[in-house]
Symmetry: C2
Subunit: 146 residues, 2 copies
């Protein structure tokens, strides 16, 4: 159950600006109550696990800073921070493989998000449905009572 | 489908030793073919998404270095690297909330693992089944064709 006040629709600042909006100037910013929940890494990022809302498939893992999370919470579309390209990346803008947001939750220690989505087409840039498909490692299986 | 040779059962070095085993001395190490797939962060870690194998629930996100992954692949139990305690952490050893390994896959760019498990009891140290339960954020929902 959501326990955070509903964010108000806000204008989106130009991509590439990662600095927090100055307080009291009406600029878009992640609500303080949400920002206070996050435990960011040295680069200011948290991990975002993306899951297909109906099938339960884990599609991919991306990274978000406060601004990427703000956009994800307020626009119905998933935006990541691309660590390799160092820019915001709204999933599907070039590939068409859009992720429509269904829910967002933060974990108990604030370093991970779970974003459920409706994924159009392949989540992976390689063309597979998920980024983990066909990439299994040999593992010893464990069992209860073993 | 696994495309990596089956790891051989190996002895487990003492927890706290994070240095790679010297080559050619028969010490336990992650197979080179697996290690070559990983893109570790500055701390030598990759993110590990843990999912209940049958229900599809995303239970938690943890962190693994090469040795934690080696133990996870070879013992049937999930081992993480605890960033806060700076030690290996075999899930359930103190809580009883064991994770039995069902499968492990690496993602397309090597910075994330998907570990499916059979989770005994609560995955979260707070007592909830998953680390995301009851921690939803207010989000605008998106729709195809909107």
């Amino acid at each position: 159950m959501p326990h955070i006040p509903e964010p108000q629709p806000v204008s989106v600042p130009p991509a590439g600006s990662r600095s927090a909006a100055p307080a009291g100037q009406g600029a878009a910013a992640l609500p303080e109550e949400v920002a206070a929940l996050l435990k960011r890494d040295a680069a200011g990022l948290v991990a975002a696990v993306v899951q297909q809302f109906d099938s339960g498939e884990v599609l991919m893992l991306g990274w978000m800073d406060d601004e990427a999370l703000r956009r994800t919470l307020t626009t119905g579309r998933v935006t990541f921070w691309s660590r390799s390209r160092r820019e915001y990346w709204r999933k599907g803008d070039t590939s068409g493989h859009v992720q429509f947001v269904k829910s967002v939750a933060v974990d108990c220690d604030g370093d991970a998000l779970l974003v459920t989505v409706d994924q159009v087409g392949a989540a992976c840039h390689t063309g597979t449905r998920t980024c983990f498909e066909g990439r299994g490692l040999a593992a010893v299986v464990g069992h209860r009572g073993a």
